[in-house]
Symmetry: C2
């Protein structure tokens, strides 16, 4: 099947570009002490994780239990970092059950109640759950803020049935800052905060074995920091319109194919609206053609051909759009049409799509 025969709207994944992106980041880590533990929340697809692991990744990062369960059931045997807090009885039960079916499971904690709940659930089982204390390094979402709280929580983990493994911080407030100097300054500040917590733990006899940070936008800084042991980058593998403004060494590998259903001069109405394309990072642009989305309704894209472009398109014509945010766009789709150039070479399901529990 040809790329242009895939019914729309559809996610088109350019496998050559995916492979080059994986290679590019693997090459960076090949000469660093830190390792890569790529984030599953971007691809949500075991086929991609398998390729990342083959290229040297030391495990996979997941955002939630549902993703980790999908990985565990895919036959991939690897260490999983669940880089968020697991709160609530039902989820804690699933966490401990999951620990029995993966080689290693590590979870983020930022409150003693989480440690107590997992500890209680581990009682009487043979399961092992590792824990990283999440430190707020500037994003002001979750995480401990002062070093005393970090040390206290690490000590509580160390005394519990969980295995104390270290700390993590995510410089989410820096990763998409377009100006490189500003991004660097924010990242360096965030890393120094993380290092302060690391030092406090070391002084308390709780030296972290794992210090996890970072994302695609800042990997060159966080991944080169001597005290960081692993990175959680995810978006690099496919890229998207937002990350493209920040990192040019990776290639946009994911597009959404859509069909023009109506045309009026330069304004095209397509069959791809906000139920197939997210827009919280801005309205997306054409992948190769000089056009941009000017509005999305539920089932329609409103796409404008650039003023100075010599391009005429009409009903039935097909265009590809570069999503401004890959993660949330992928979350809307059931599968990737995997292409090499113009050939569809595979279909990969997205089993972790919509698994938000």
């Amino acid at each position: 099947m040809k790329r242009s025969d895939v019914d729309t709207p559809a996610l088109i994944l350019d496998l050559d570009r995916v492979e080059r992106n994986i290679e590019t980041l693997a090459l960076f880590f090949s000469s660093r002490t830190a390792n890569l533990r790529p984030h599953f929340k971007t691809p949500k697809c075991p086929e991609v994780a398998r390729r990342q692991l083959a290229a040297g990744a030391i495990g996979i990062t997941c955002a939630k239990l549902g993703e980790a369960e999908v990985l565990a059931h895919s036959g991939i045997e690897t260490s999983i970092l669940l880089a968020n807090q697991v709160v609530g009885r039902a989820k804690v039960q699933r966490l401990v059950e999951l620990a029995g079916s993966v080689p290693e499971l590590i979870v983020a904690v930022d409150h003693p109640n989480q440690v107590r709940a997992i500890d209680a659930e581990l009682s009487g089982t043979k399961q092992s759950v590792g824990a990283l204390v999440e430190v707020d390094i500037g994003m002001h979402r979750c995480g401990t803020r002062d070093e005393a709280a970090t040390v206290e929580l690490a000590a509580a983990v160390d005394k519990s049935r969980l295995s104390y493994r270290g700390i993590m911080g995510y410089e989410g407030h820096a990763v998409l800052v377009v100006d490189p100097e500003e991004r660097r300054a924010l990242t360096v500040q965030a890393l120094s905060e993380l290092d302060r917590h690391r030092s406090a733990l070391a002084r308390a006899g709780l030296e972290p074995e794992i210090v996890s940070a970072g994302g695609t936008g800042t990997y060159d800084i966080t991944g080169a920091a001597p005290f960081v042991t692993e990175l959680q980058a995810g978006s690099y593998v496919f890229m998207d319109g937002a990350y493209r403004k920040v990192r040019s060494e990776f290639e946009p590998a994911l597009t959404v194919a859509t069909t023009v259903v109506h045309a009026r001069g330069r304004l095209l109405i397509t069959d791809c609206g906000m139920k197939a394309l997210s827009h919280e990072f801005g309205l997306p642009e054409g992948a190769d053609l000089p056009l941009r989305c000017v509005a999305l309704s539920e089932e329609h894209g409103h796409v404008l051909i650039d003023d100075d472009a010599e391009l005429t398109l009409g009903p039935g014509d097909r265009i590809e759009i570069l999503p401004s945010h890959g993660d949330t766009t992928i979350n809307l789709h059931e599968e990737y049409a995997v292409v090499r150039g113009e050939e569809v070479v595979d279909r990969w399901p997205i089993p972790a799509r919509g698994k938000f529990k």
Copy 2:
């Protein structure tokens, strides 16, 4: 199971309210010549459609083939209006196949190529497909614009293997206008445009049997217009934060339950981000509690308790959020937890979720 025991994030559907909303709109139509053909793109769930049909709806409106196929496979036997253009070979084939398994299938057209493609596909089959000419009545998305084009297209339908049934227009630019006078003025203008096309067709001997319009925001005007025969309202059945500002006679029946995972004074971090809650109509508010979403990350909600509220919440506490846009939020979920008061009385899958082809 109790409502408060449903694991989060989850869609909570208040069945008493859903039933009252269905009753309220059915009562309006009981004394009008127009009928209701509720839109499936809101609930995406046959259980809801079944109740709307039992209350007197004459059929169901769908936004796309995938939704109509879900309805057809659910055992519901009713007339289906596919209120968008079907473009592309694969979809036209599915359309004609679908026509064989539903009592009546009507599709919108706005270009002769669509008529030709469906006509060709109908050749040699026993299937019957009805068509409405879509008229642009002010939203400037799809639809014919001048009466001559409408008449020409209706005549083309009439001469084809499709059955010519009439016209449709959607005053989508008016439905969410908060000011009632402005909304009324826009709607009256849109309706007069629709009527102009209807008259032109009548003069050409192509009097429409069906004149379809409308939505939840304008049903009292469009549904009372003497020449309108049916309405496509959808959101009334659950309501959402956006429609709540426009229509107070319907009750908000749909909330998203979420758990606080982290707290810092009045700022709560919850387990429900943009992968479980849409926000294109604005950040949502608390359903019953004095709080509002101030940001959404992929997997986290950033929720602020109102300044003057006497309310303290912490990790593990549960809150319910009123989505600002129901349709796209529902599209992210696999099921409804159906409640009456505090009791969970059922679980309804959402089979048409993510069916965007």
